[in-house]
């Protein structure tokens, strides 16, 4: 096969492309759009939370029934649009779903995985390029279908991203759309994960042994296994719930339910807890799917900007594998309050404590990597450095949740919301930003603007803490999650001020994304042109031209050393590439 990327018609090159780099970019852009949508929904919700039942300024009128309801201001006679309880729940459920399944996973795995992984393995493409294309083209329709839920009667799914039955079973049509969307998205992920594993295992370049793989590739490999083995149970659960909703079965329905005074005429005999087990069997591994690629990116950026090898590379790898393995046996820590007895809860809180150990090791390795370094404060590095304490906060607050006794007080409060947003927002999202700034030159041949990047970083760092720090205090004060209006309860009203603070934090955070959005698009066309290896990095992707041509490498890469050979004594440069590019390039 020769290089004929230039002869390809537009639609083959940019739309139905089979080139992993194009697919990676498609994933990235689509996921960023979904990220913005998910954030937009949350801004509306945060407005309601700070100013309960006040008309939503500006965009309220565009949201439509049943998300908002029109109310008239008795004093001025103006019509305002306030969020409804159902609208709030729809936005909440869809925020969670979009962020997890349509934004972060596609960005971290579909985007970065696709773009970087084959390059880092020294492969010309993914093992199955057409399957790769199919994966994107199941993801996008799945996502669109999911969003279509807003246009059916009753609005989109509104039973939380966890979709616990029987609430989800008796919910409006949006839930069916949600389930169909999930089944499609899961299929997409499965296609992707098979491709990733085969690529890493079979397509590594000559000399690239497993322990010469960059940590990012390891993280993606473990992630792919999590997707491969944890997603199917949710698919099964989704099929069962679809049957419950569409075919009238009662897998999750014990029978004899009386909804709004009307007895449901079902066969009964099902178990609501079955869903929770199947869901969390997926969803706990899923949270590591959210964080592992992020950890991978952070490791690349840290090694590159400290100009020295990562400390404890092997412990990082073993910890990631152990983390992946353990994540399959902690799921019930989300269910401590379902009435679990002592034996089971003992088991699951013990495994939960055990699983925090590899995370501590990973973080320790990354921090110690800084010792003896020569740290360059590039934009990706700023995000990476901020990631460490932020993930630390998120991870540490997982401990009180993982111990059953303290979980009694904290379960389903904003403490939980605070915990996981610290890991996914200033954690994973920061890692994603780091990755975008870091690999942007590889994808476009141009660098993103440094100063805009710094503004973006500083603003995001301050405001994201303003958004999420109050949540811990709210949680301690027993403000429950998924509350349309927390002032409805005594303890909620007492700390409403924190909620207002969080909302303004969120608006500030939104404002500081503008430099990023501008920078992103502007740099594609007008960013500073840079060569193949602007960061003086060592891993294989930097041996290919920027942007890499069809087939990636100008000559077959042959790897002679480990991934992070920075500042090797006696070398002329402070980096030794795994496979130096041909001199003519």
């Amino acid at each position: 096969m020769s290089d004929h990327s230039h002869d390809l018609p537009f639609w083959k090159k940019y739309i139905f492309s089979v080139d992993h780099k194009m697919i990676g970019i498609q994933y990235t852009v689509t996921a960023l759009v979904f990220l913005a949508i998910g954030f937009g929904m949350m801004l509306v919700m945060r407005y309601q939370l700070a100013y309960p039942n006040q008309p939503i300024p500006v965009i309220g009128q565009f949201l439509g029934e049943p998300i908002v309801a029109a109310v008239e201001n008795p004093d001025t006679g103006e019509t305002g649009y306030v969020l409804t309880g159902d609208g709030y729940n729809s936005f909440g459920a869809m925020h969670g779903t979009i962020m997890v399944f349509l934004a972060i996973v596609p960005l971290a795995v579909g985007g970065f995985g696709n773009f970087v992984l084959p390059l880092q393995c020294g492969a010309p493409d993914m093992a199955f390029p057409r399957l790769n294309m199919a994966s994107y083209w199941t993801y996008l329709p799945g996502g669109i279908l999911m969003m279509f839920g807003f246009f059916v009667k009753g609005g989109a799914a509104n039973s939380g991203w966890t979709s616990y039955p029987p609430l989800a079973t008796i919910a409006t049509t949006g839930q069916t759309i949600w389930l169909l969307g999930m089944v499609i998205l899961i299929t997409s992920s499965l296609l992707g994960s098979v491709n990733f594993i085969v690529t890493v295992v079979q397509l590594r370049a000559k000399g690239l042994s497993f322990f010469r793989l960059p940590f990012f590739a390891w993280a993606q490999l473990v992630t792919a296994f999590l997707l491969l083995l944890a997603f199917p149970p949710l698919e099964a659960a989704g099929v069962l719930q679809l049957m419950d909703r569409v075919a009238g079965t009662s897998f999750f329905d014990p029978g004899g339910l009386i909804v709004s005074g009307v007895e449901q005429n079902t066969a009964g005999g099902g178990s609501p807890l079955l869903w929770q087990h199947l869901f969390w069997f997926l969803a706990h591994p899923e949270v590591y799917v959210l964080i592992l690629p992020g950890l991978g990116i952070i490791s690349e950026v840290i090694a590159n900007n400290t100009r020295k090898p990562l400390w404890g590379y092997k412990s990082l790898v073993y910890s990631a594998i152990f983390l992946g393995f353990m994540s399959f046996i902690v799921w019930a820590h989300h269910m401590f309050m379902t009435g679990m007895g002592t034996t089971l809860s003992t088991f699951f809180q013990a495994t939960t404590m055990i699983i925090s150990v590899p995370s501590v090791i990973i973080l320790t390795c990354l921090i110690i990597s800084l010792w003896g370094a020569s740290i360059r404060f590039t934009v990706p590095m700023l995000f990476a450095l901020a990631f460490l304490p932020m993930f630390g906060i998120g991870g540490l607050t997982g401990l009180p949740l993982g111990l059953t006794a303290s979980d009694i007080h904290l379960h389903d409060t904003y403490y939980v919301i605070g915990h996981f947003h610290y890991v996914v927002a200033p954690g994973t999202i920061f890692a994603m930003f780091a990755g975008i700034y870091y690999w942007f030159p590889k994808a476009t041949g141009r660098k993103m603007n440094e100063w805009l990047g710094r503004i973006h970083f500083a603003g995001s760092f301050v405001f994201i803490n303003a958004v999420f720090m109050p949540f811990f205090f709210m949680g301690m004060a027993s403000v429950l999650r998924r509350q349309f209006d927390q002032t409805e309860t005594l303890h909620g009203a007492a700390v409403q001020g924190l909620s207002v603070m969080s909302t303004w934090g969120a608006f500030g955070l939104a404002a500081f994304q503008l430099p990023f959005v501008f920078n992103f698009f502007w740099s594609i066309f007008a960013g500073e042109r840079v060569g193949a290896n602007p960061w003086h990095a060592t891993t294989l992707e930097w041996s290919a031209p920027s942007p890499p041509p069809h087939g990636n490498f100008l000559s077959e890469p042959v790897v002679a050393c480990g991934p992070y050979e920075y500042s090797v004594p006696g070398e002329a440069e402070d980096y030794t590439m795994q496979s130096p590019p041909p001199a003519t390039a």
Binding site: V201, L229, G256, E263, G268, G339
Partner: protein, 112 residues
């Protein structure tokens, strides 16, 4: 290439033998379910049925899918998968064992 052809013949024969075994075992499963005393012993019946199914499944996996010849990495991946599979099969135990822990009972009598 004579030896090769012979080997191939043997391979074909092996497949047909496994096929025969599968048919026989199917007959056994069905037949056994008609034995009244066995059928009356619920636990035993389940054990026998699953045992036979297990043997049949292994035959398919080992010979039709050539799992016996796969000593590479996939073997370990499948082992991992089986481990998680077993974890999954523990779900019923996990769900039913303690949640109700003896004290809890049904809210309304079955069928109201």
């Amino acid at each position: 290439m004579a030896a090769n052809a012979e080997a191939h013949q043997a391979e074909l024969k092996k497949y047909l033998m496994v096929f025969g075994a599968l048919l026989v075992l199917t007959a056994v499963t069905v037949g056994v379910s008609y034995i009244p005393w066995l059928a009356a012993n619920h636990v035993l019946a389940i054990a026998v049925a699953l045992l036979v199914a297990g043997v049949k499944g292994s035959l398919v996996a080992c010979y039709f899918m050539h799992l016996l010849d796969e000593r590479g990495m996939i073997f370990w991946i499948l082992a991992l998968c089986v481990l998680f599979f077993i974890t999954l099969l523990l779900l019923p135990v996990v769900t039913s064992s303690e949640v109700v822990a003896g004290h809890a009972d049904k809210l309304y009598g079955v069928g109201k």
